[in-house]
């Protein structure tokens, strides 16, 4: 069993008074698809560039495959990067771009040409080798950038928001292609993204970052279902937040939640033995709008529909529960025969206490 391929120990990075990274400890295993997720300015790109060798850590250590990278420049690190702008060399052809890094290798020329052709084939650019780089579409450029990095067989491939410039359809397609390509080549991928959906779809593990620190490091499922705090909860998907009061008595724990009433809850739902004032979180899909004539199920409360947003397969309702001052979001699948309810409609809302998460 080998150690982690990337290990960061207490990495700080500051520019004058500004602290971009404030103590990052992180280990990433071989063959992992890892995402750094966070809003802009959270330090995720700085962290990626520190791993790549474009930035030096002000403090702390960066180890790649067990080797300390202090003083090792970017060109001598076992990492390659796919840049946000792709950085495809405009004066070179597609094949020359992909073969750019091979010039330094000892590989004989015909073998190099074969390697380039095979790589182009792998990223779906077969036969386009002679095309001028400036004549490529955004998606093709991205594939060139990917091929150019992967052909050098790096230990770690770094991707700096590689999909953010693509239109939605192409982005979704590339997400799946990237994922399967990563499984094929078995190289560790570290993806920087501000798109939570992208991170959830693609990653084995995600580090959610805020203000230069990792707020939560976990699998996509844990990040979504068990966010450690309100910031993570609100950043990943939609989270309804309600004021709550947690009380412990002899037999167990109960929570009084605005608009929902008092319910018994389990210890696993409350991090760190929290008591007293707290915030309760509920995902939109754990709430259900009950139509007229549908029987009550689980726990039921009442409210008014204030907003309705139609998404095709789903409708998102903003429902203000009785006794609350702002609406909660409820997502409903649009099934045949199910009407879209208009704002102003009075409705029952079914929910279940198991779906609750509490934050300080």
């Amino acid at each position: 069993m080998s150690g982690p391929i990337v290990a960061l120990k207490g990495v700080h990075k500051s520019y004058g008074d500004y602290h971009a990274l404030r103590g990052i400890d992180l280990e990433i295993g071989a063959g992992e698809f890892f995402s750094l997720l966070g809003p802009s300015g959270c330090g995720k790109t700085t962290l990626l560039r520190t791993i790549a060798g474009f930035e030096d850590a002000s403090e702390g250590r960066v180890l790649l495959d067990g080797r300390d990278m202090a003083g090792v420049p970017a060109n001598r690190r076992p990492t390659n990067m796919v840049f946000q702008t792709y950085a495809v060399f405009p004066h070179l052809s597609v094949a020359e771009n992909v073969g750019f890094g091979l010039r330094r290798s000892q590989m004989p020329k015909p073998e190099r040409a074969r390697a380039v052709e095979a790589m182009l084939e792998q990223v779906g650019l077969g036969g386009l080798g002679r095309r001028a780089a400036h004549a490529l579409s955004g998606g093709q450029r991205q594939r060139v950038a990917l091929a150019r990095a992967l052909i050098l067989k790096p230990k770690v491939l770094l991707l700096d928001e590689p999909l953010s410039a693509l239109d939605r359809k192409l982005r979704e397609q590339m997400q799946h292609e990237l994922r399967s390509l990563q499984r094929q080549v078995g190289i560790t991928f570290i993806l920087v993204t501000h798109d939570q959906e992208e991170a959830l779809i693609m990653s084995d593990r995600i580090a959610v970052m805020f203000e230069g620190l990792i707020a939560q490091l976990a699998t996509p499922e844990d990040i979504y279902n068990r966010p450690v705090d309100r910031r993570v909860a609100e950043f990943i998907g939609v989270m309804n937040l309600l004021r709550a009061e947690i009380r412990r008595n002899g037999s167990g724990i109960e929570a009084e939640i605005e608009g929902l009433g008092t319910v018994p809850i389990e210890a696993r739902q409350v991090p760190g033995g929290l008591t007293g004032a707290a915030t309760a979180g509920l995902r939109p899909e754990t709430l259900t709008v009950l139509y007229e004539g549908q029987p009550d199920r689980g726990r039921v409360t009442h409210g008014n529909i204030e907003e309705e947003t139609y998404y095709g397969d789903m409708t998102y309702y903003g429902v203000r529960l009785d006794g609350t001052d702002r609406p909660v979001t409820i997502s409903m699948r649009n099934l045949p025969g199910r009407d879209i309810l208009d704002p102003g409609t009075r409705t029952r809302v079914a929910w279940s206490p198991e779906a609750l998460i509490f934050f300080p």
């Binding site: 790549a52 474009f54 060109n75 702008t85 750019f100 890094g101 050098l152």
Partner: protein
């Protein structure tokens, strides 16, 4: 016909056509003999003096171009890559300050600097670096090259600066990321991408310098005279406008051919480089 076309016709085509027509006429005392003849061209090609002046003009203009581009590139590179973004405009502005004075005054100042008792010689003598004044720096081709290289510096710095500014900095990082050092990144990425600016700078310097006559007249001495001085002499002293026109057309043809060759060569090397 729209005004721009009319303007181009009056200001470019008509004067050029007039010059071109003159080359087939001959001077007959005080009048122009309008019989068509190639005798001017025959004379221009056969007289060794004209050939020597033409070759010297090409050689001096080439040397000026080389010197100007070689000195302009590091300046443009420094301003583009090492000056903070918000100060770049100021730097470019400062570079142009010496060029607010008249061209003529700057040429005279070079005489003051390069002369026998000039600034350069007295300084070097005073420092004990030389025992007697240097004489190879004024009234010869060297002086013409130095003066013109200085005069055209901003015209070379600007296009190179613009070409360097247009280079996406992430390309340089990408090259580093793919294993290249600072030096090889410069050779494989920066230089080829700056090439259009370098070629533009070279042409902007070469084309006007080959026809310059003020600088060679003032600092060139007898060995520094160029073809334009001869054209001036033909028109104004020898009162032979047809011969002057012929030399001008030949100089123009040479500039056109050399520019075309430089342009094609740059295209070709860009391909081979890759």
């Amino acid at each position: 016909m729209g005004p721009p076309a009319l303007y181009a016709l009056l200001m470019l085509a008509v004067p050029l056509a007039t010059i071109f027509a003159y080359t087939f006429w001959t001077q007959d005392g005080l009048t122009i003999d309008r019989t068509l003849t190639f005798s001017n061209y025959r004379e221009a090609f056969n007289d060794p003096l004209y050939r020597q002046l033409m070759l010297r003009s090409v050689w001096i203009a080439g040397a000026v171009t080389l010197a100007t581009v070689m000195t302009a590139f590091p300046i443009a590179y420094f301003v583009s890559f090492h000056v903070p973004q918000r100060r770049k405009a100021l730097w470019i502005f400062l570079i142009t300050i010496p060029f607010w004075t008249s061209y003529l005054i700057r040429v005279f100042l070079w005489k003051v600097i390069l002369g026998y008792n000039g600034v350069l010689n007295t300084t070097l003598l005073g420092l004990g670096i030389i025992d007697e004044p240097l004489s190879f720096i004024l009234y010869n081709a060297n002086a013409v090259v130095i003066t013109l290289a200085h005069a055209f510096a901003p015209f070379a710095i600007l296009p190179i600066f613009v070409a360097l500014e247009k280079i996406d900095r992430s390309l340089l990082e990408a090259s580093r990321d793919l294993g290249e050092t600072h030096l090889t990144t410069f050779l494989r990425v920066t230089l080829p991408l700056a090439m259009p600016g370098i070629v533009a700078a070279a042409l902007i310097v070469f084309i006007p310098t080959i026809g310059d006559y003020v600088t060679p007249r003032l600092v060139g001495g007898p060995d520094g005279l160029m073809i334009a001085n001869m054209i001036q002499t033909q028109y104004l002293r020898l009162n032979d406008a047809p011969m002057g026109a012929t030399l001008a057309v030949l100089a123009m043809a040479i500039v056109a051919v050399i520019s075309a060759l430089v342009f094609l060569a740059s295209r070709l090397t860009a391909r081979i480089w890759a």
